[in-house]
Symmetry: C2
Subunit: 421 residues, 2 copies
Amino acid sequence: MITDVRVHDVRFPTAAAGDGSDSINKGDYSATYVELLTDGPHTGTGFTFTNGRGNEITAACVRALAPAVLSMGEDPLEFLRSLTADVQLRWIGPEKGALHMATGALVNAVWDLRAKTEGKPMWQLLAEMPTADLVACVDFRHIDDALTPGEAAAILDKGRDGMADRLARLRSEGFPSYTTSVGWLGYPDDKVRQLTRTAYAEGWRAMKMKVGGPIEDDVRRARIIRGEIGPDALLMMDANQIWGVDEAIANMARLAEFDPYWIEEPTHPDDVLGHARIQRAVTPVRVATGEVAANRVIFKQLLQAEAIGVMQIDACRVAGIPEVLAELLLAAKFGVPVCPHAGGVGLCELVQHLAIFDYLRVGTSLEGRMVEYVDHLHEHFTDPVQTRNGRYLVPEKPGYSSDLKPESIAEFSFPQGPAWN
Amino acid sequence: MITDVRVHDVRFPTAAAGDGSDSINKGDYSATYVELLTDGPHTGTGFTFTNGRGNEITAACVRALAPAVLSMGEDPLEFLRSLTADVQLRWIGPEKGALHMATGALVNAVWDLRAKTEGKPMWQLLAEMPTADLVACVDFRHIDDALTPGEAAAILDKGRDGMADRLARLRSEGFPSYTTSVGWLGYPDDKVRQLTRTAYAEGWRAMKMKVGGPIEDDVRRARIIRGEIGPDALLMMDANQIWGVDEAIANMARLAEFDPYWIEEPTHPDDVLGHARIQRAVTPVRVATGEVAANRVIFKQLLQAEAIGVMQIDACRVAGIPEVLAELLLAAKFGVPVCPHAGGVGLCELVQHLAIFDYLRVGTSLEGRMVEYVDHLHEHFTDPVQTRNGRYLVPEKPGYSSDLKPESIAEFSFPQGPAWN
């Protein structure tokens, strides 16, 4: 039984180093970190990632939502809606922004506790769950015009075929990945060149650069990276929402010579129709988005409008495992590959489970699938991601890999931790 | 000069009475109320409306954003983006939910101060502003594929023609309005019948009922209201987002016999494509939405997709006057009438200024225009709305009519005010 909900405002001072700098964000990578204390042997943990200032706001949202966790019953949809459709709190969403991110932290903590209790890593808990139990977690309200419970069940039933073979393959080869550590806007050209060269030597064959500064700078940096990685490796570009629709189309015409694999967040994350126009204009380059997509209703529309060629889920911007499950099922229905967003604080740790589950039971293919990798802050987790030759190794410890080390929580708690004094 | 930003968590205990109850909300109407103290004679005030729980979160957002107000410079777009595009805070939006609502409270307070300083009611300040100054306030990023600065300027220039005549007409006749006080879901049938009869006797010829309960209940209540108001008065319906897309289409087929003028919020507020499908299915009934539309990018798409026949702006969910201005200009460009959302705490007080400005300078027509009216909580404002025969009278005092009485702030402050003890 859950006896208490604790929340920590944990912030890492990354802004000063230029890590994580892009066209529109410059952050102190932070986590609104939740602990569910119980009368049993396990503590459930979950978090939502924020960019520094504002972490106190998502923490306040966790406190506002905590009573629903302490009084939760057996029905998973009823519990989910007690958070997403609270008759008063929903007004400051609904299902978006700070409140929804806090919901994600809490829901993920509940699922982490469940996985720990069953002694399974999250991917395994999900992959082995009966279809009916998985379907019962999903809120089909507002997406059932695109995906019915029956269609979801059919996808999950079919996903059982060959699951053992796919798992054996993953355990042998790891999960494909790409690195974002080479091309932050805050880095000078020499550092970009050196990081690219190092990453290539380490085995990475897919790399992402930030764009959205002055276009001539973007062109120059793209030329450096493409020059280092040769014609065969994949080069992804990420504009972090800065462009208007017409501007995105014009700038991608300039950058096309560097053969980008995808353009990520070319414009405002709420602009479904804008992404659709951009996708039509830049094909065969894929439009990718989703790390800031507010909820499953935005993803539903991006798929319905054929606005994206790559769907980037986030583990903790939406309402945790159940809403991510809805998103994975939508992507499978529409035949769009899922490449999870990672980086930040602990996002790699979370999304590896989601990508593995997707491969095992939902999408069932590795074609076009890659998990983002950023080499930051893993040392603060008790079960950090492991990579080899540009691939994620399968995590085998129970839970969602979301436990921060107690000493890291103490050191980086804001504002009272030693790191902030 | 602004010397301090104060924020009050003010809540009115309305939930117990069933006022404001609909298919999805049941609230204690609340305001995150901002005061901008100055070294001059005036205090700027602004607020965002919330539904009770969560008001402490929007208040926390105001505190996080306040430094940008204290350090604001001359450039209006730079100031706006210092709030909407803060490199750290934007991650918990962007431009949506609690953070954006707090932005609205602060920006409106800045504009209220300006109007008081110039000694003009808000509608007059805006209507008399040079076109270039109005255009300079708008953030065209992410909407310039639908509306360019040049198009906006042309609309505002043309809006000067006949402005004096339109103002004279408003001062003589008032602004058209409709009432939402008759059909909250929390009211029993007898109360609905009595309220409808009373409203009709007072001169109202347009009334809105809540739907989205069991469909037979909706049908029964619609029959009561239509029976009372006869065939010629307008009956609007409001589902408050509860339905799925297919469900909305099916339920409106059932309710069509009562000749609804519009169906409001038939589904999730983020679902642009869903609204477009519903609009195609229910025409000639108009789809109306916007009170929970997160920002101008959502409105842009609703217009581009021909998803709405009525656009319902909110005064303080978005980034205040400048973003509302963008929305009014978009509506004018696409030829869709604006009928502002009101009710709650003080929304009638605010939106009357916006509707009047829209008529004077932007939309320049009263055809299909109505401001919502709910007869709640006006007594707490120092300059409350005045209505006569179902019309708003033109407010003539300086400012945005947003000042709460000091004794109301004291009485209803949460949790320490006497009303909450």
